[in-house]
């Protein structure tokens, strides 16, 4: 039985799941960055180092925001490799649970759904403002629906 304080464990747990999918993902991102030159290669190596000691979401965030530095004008279609790697980094942290395939499947499905709805909105409107709003609202609604589902399933709704 563990006796370590819960808060200390939370910090440790964030780094525990250096899974195979995550490793492949960060390597793909590093390769993609290396294709931009020496500075990109160094950035890729730094990202791998960060991935080994930090939660995957940190590497994802850095890898995503640095795109603006290394691919300032590239269209989305030319960034599929780095986005795939970033997708795999997040997917890797979902494979450590009790039912990794279900988790991974849900991630793929939800990603596809959100990409579809935002992409469709973007095609219709031609601007990024409305798809962003649609994404935030849709994600919020889903999160609330999950929350209510949990309360009902576990009978946690207080008596009126």
């Amino acid at each position: 039985m563990s006796t370590a304080p819960l808060n200390d464990r939370l910090a440790d747990l964030a780094r525990e799941h250096t899974t195979l999918a995550g490793a492949l993902g960060v390597i793909v991102v590093a390769v993609a960055y290396s294709s931009t030159g020496l500075l990109g290669a160094l950035t890729g190596i730094v990202l791998i180092g960060i991935w080994m000691v930090s939660p995957p979401i940190v590497v994802f965030f850095l890898g995503q925001t640095l795109v603006i530095v290394f691919w300032p004008d590239s269209p989305l279609s030319s960034l599929w490799l780095v986005e795939t790697g970033l997708f795999a980094i997040l997917a890797g942290s979902l494979t450590a649970g009790r039912t990794p395939l279900v988790s991974l499947g849900s991630y793929v499905i939800i990603t596809g759904f959100l990409l579809g709805i935002t992409g469709y909105t973007y095609q219709i409107t031609g601007s990024l403002l409305k798809p962003t709003g649609v994404l935030i609202v849709t994600t919020g609604l889903f999160a609330y629906a999950f929350h209510r589902y949990e309360l009902v399933t576990l009978d946690l709704i207080p008596d009126q």
Binding site: M1, V67, W71, L76, S103, T139, F146, L154
Partner: protein, 483 residues
């Protein structure tokens, strides 16, 4: 489900990416925001799945070493948890003691099950300084996702009943003038024999328990005699129990009220065994605190038992009992007669106050014990046995109460706790203590002289024995010195 700061940090990162996509007009950041949103929703879905699975497989057991402890008696609480397989969820299971109890700090009552742990157990102690019924709620389980994004608090396991009862005295003496009297037949307290009411005297025959020998009769008739007890079933018993502040006197667990409670419980047990209807009136500082009508149902016996075991003394009133400073009606009449022939300013002034006894009657009626006795009514005249249990702190009131109770009862049993035998340090001055006890005994005999009234002293046997033995020793020593 509650989300953590880590969750909000990731949400902020996603919103930041979405903002970048709008500011720089770069769809790639919107894709990043989509991946973040999908990641959070997937983690939430997984947490719910794991939590639902845990809820169906987790076994929580909480047990008490006893459900009916005495006050200040430690109760061992054992909390154990078991899940068949490791889980990605951390569990923090906390046992919540009832409000009336005290226990150690929360970390001593908290069980941690990490993701790899399937079983855990802890024990801790709780205790209560006050009597009462309470519920030990189910343990609180705080579930945390191993990624630190979500937590949930559940209440699982059985609710446990805890009834804290007062400590009972160990050495109860029931008697008359220092002599034990077998009020309940074979036993004096606790679980009772087959009888309750003294019925007849017969000669001792081999096989009779020696405790049933009536020594007073034996001494008088010069041959062992035992007392028989009747077991009427049409009899009704009403307990009048005084739990005013004066009943607090005594050391912890052996106060006057503890003794009174013991005798009341003994009556209850007897009546329960014999299926005799019984009722209970408890008298506090401001009047009746419980009024349970006479009945013979199992619920009734349980209700009275719970009431008795959880009964505590009521706070002292700011005003002294009016009866405690009053004279008896006979004394008042005598004084009024004297004052009527007194022409002095003193006699003239005081005479009107003694001229009428009405104020006295009003004062009596305002006294809680007397008021309770006044409410005695029975549908079957002559079948009610009134058991009055009180102390000697309110003698005039008790005297009038007994007189009143006789009118509605076939018999009145009075159990009086002498204050001198309960006061800590009360026996330090033996002469004073003995004289006080003699005054008490005189009062008890006075009550017992009423027809259909039997008055007993109810006291710690060891202290009474010590007082009588010390006095006897002194008397012998004094006689030896004069010879």
């Amino acid at each position: 489900m509650q989300v953590t700061r880590v969750y909000w940090a990731i949400v902020t990162a996603g919103v930041f990416l979405a903002t970048l996509s709008v500011l720089f007009d770069r769809p790639v950041f919107l894709v990043g925001a989509v991946l973040v949103g999908a990641f959070l929703l997937s983690q939430q879905y997984r947490f719910i799945r794991d939590l639902t699975h845990l809820d169906t497989t987790l076994s929580i057991t909480q047990e008490l070493s006893t459900h009916r402890p005495r006050t200040d008696e430690p109760v061992l609480v054992t909390l154990s948890a078991h899940r068949p397989n490791p889980s990605p969820l951390d569990l923090t299971i906390t046992s919540e003691p009832p409000v009336i109890t005290t226990s150690g700090p929360q970390n001593e009552r908290t069980l941690h099950l990490g993701t790899d742990d399937t079983r855990g157990e802890l024990s801790y102690q709780l205790q209560s300084g006050v009597a009462g019924a309470a519920t030990v709620p189910p343990p609180l389980i705080t579930v945390t996702d191993h990624t630190g994004l979500f937590t949930e608090t559940l209440s699982r396991g059985a609710e446990l009943e805890l009834v804290v009862t007062q400590r009972t005295p160990r050495n109860i003496h029931i008697g008359e003038g220092g002599q034990d009297v077998s009020v309940f037949g074979d036993q004096t307290t606790g679980r009772l024999g087959t009888g309750l009411i003294p019925d007849s005297i017969r000669e001792y025959v081999p096989g009779d328990a020696s405790s049933r020998i009536d020594w007073n009769v034996t001494a008088r008739l010069n041959h062992p005699h035992v007392r028989e007890y009747e077991t009427e079933t049409d009899r009704m018993t009403l307990l009048l129990l005084d739990h005013r502040h004066t009943m607090t006197t005594g050391i912890n667990g052996e106060t006057k009220l503890d003794y009174a409670r013991s005798i009341a419980l003994a009556f209850l047990n007897t009546t329960r065994t014999e299926h005799v209807p019984i009722g209970l009136k408890t008298i506090g500082t401001d009047g009746l605190t419980h009024n349970i009508p006479v009945s013979a149902t199992n619920t009734q016996y349980s209700l009275i038992e719970t009431t008795l075991t959880t009964l505590d003394t009521t706070p002292n009133s700011d005003h002294p009992s009016p009866m405690s400073v009053r004279t008896r009606p006979a004394d008042a009449r005598r004084t009024a007669g004297i004052l009527s022939s007194d022409d002095s300013a003193f006699g003239t002034t005081l005479h009107p106050y003694y001229d009428t006894l009405d104020p006295y009657i009003h004062l009596i009626e305002s006294d809680p014990l007397f008021a309770a006795a006044k409410q005695l009514t029975t549908p079957q005249p002559g079948s009610l046995w009134t058991v009055l249990i009180t102390d000697d702190s309110h003698k005039p009131e008790l005297r009038e109460t007994v007189s009143l109770a006789i009118d509605e009862s076939a018999h009145v049993l009075v159990f009086i706790t002498p204050t001198i035998l309960f006061e800590p340090g009360g026996l330090s001055d033996l002469d004073t203590a003995y004289n006080t006890y003699l005054a008490f005994e005189e009062f008890r005999r006075e009550l017992g002289r009423h027809e259909h009234v039997t008055a007993f002293e109810l006291a710690p046997g060891d202290r009474l024995d010590a007082l009588l033995a010390a006095h006897q020793h002194r008397a012998q020593h004094a006689r030896g010195a004069t010879q």
